[in-house]
Symmetry: C2
């Protein structure tokens, strides 16, 4: 069957149904049957789009990273001062609203699930490290980075900060508010940059 | 039955058997039966120490945080320069060896598992945030912190950094080496402190 927009759209709808099942019942509940029910289609119809459960789950996880990537690329293309652009990009990676919180939870459940599955899935890189590396290089190319910094250490430090605060945003939404997250990311970027 | 050392020791042995089961089979595999097999005792004998699976799992998770706390308190009591002491403490929270890696994996599986169980367990705070807050206050009390820092922001930033790099150490042990982790933590503490 040739790929077409409707086919892709339907796959995305099923993948998003899988997200909802994972959110509500964990990976243990992410059976083909449950996902078909959530998507409002028959198991037979679902099999038309995804031959196996693994294929469906890998697609659902890849869709998470694609959505983040799309938003980041949109911001990267905007005409903004470098520091402001970088902070906006980091705010797309960290879950600051319901949509990104959902993505993070799904991605996370998936990552933890995969640790006990070994080679059944090829472990997907989530691309965040590459994005962080690009951010540090971008600041450097724009002569914004403070002189004398070790870029490898700064990349690892920012990567840990972003994933750590994303984790806390997910696990402690009552305690950690959006303004605090933005303040932490802003403070960190300012601390490695010359004054704007 | 009165508490005694042998009784506590046996409970710890069973809890550590639970850790191994969680590590190898995930939380889904952490049945009383599997844990009893791993501990080399009968289900009946296990029930003597833990009446329910929930009681056993909560104990096993609490034991993780107690072990970290013990090591941190040991370092806190040493006579060391403040920055060095703080870096050593952070290195006990982040998994830098097989033992701490195991603890982190178990704690993590547990946290993710609890998200789908609602109120069946009272969600345990892992105490890391309190520890980080104490570290920042300790640096401040020793007049090591750079002037003008917002302590609330710095606490949140260090907390995110520590949990983020702990997560990466767990998920990417091949890529992220002990020396890099120590370099990132050292760089961060130096960046918020006056020169030692």
């Amino acid at each position: 069957m040739p790929k077409n927009v409707n086919h892709e759209e339907k796959k995305d709808q099923i993948a998003e149904a899988a997200w909802r099942v994972i959110l509500n019942h964990g990976m243990e509940g992410a059976s083909v049957r449950n996902i078909a029910v959530e998507a409002g289609i028959s198991v037979g119809a679902l099999r038309h789009y995804f031959a196996t459960q693994d294929e469906l789950l890998v697609y659902a996880m890849t869709l998470v990273t694609e959505k983040v990537k799309e938003r980041v690329e949109h911001i990267a293309a905007l005409d903004l001062p470098p520091q402001e652009k970088v902070i906006k990009i980091l705010c797309e990676i960290v879950p600051l609203n319901k949509q990104t919180m959902t993505e993070m939870e799904v991605w996370f459940s998936f990552i933890i699930h995969l640790r006990h599955k070994g080679d059944r899935f090829a472990l997907q890189s989530d691309g965040v490290l590459n994005g962080i590396r690009a951010v540090v290089e971008y600041l450097d190319a724009n002569r914004m980075l403070l002189p004398g910094l070790d870029q490898a250490v700064e990349t690892e430090r920012l990567y840990a900060l972003v994933d750590g605060i994303a984790l806390h945003a997910m696990l402690e939404p009552q305690r950690l508010k959006r303004e605090q997250i933005v303040a932490v990311l802003t403070r960190h970027i300012q601390s490695i940059c010359k004054e704007a």
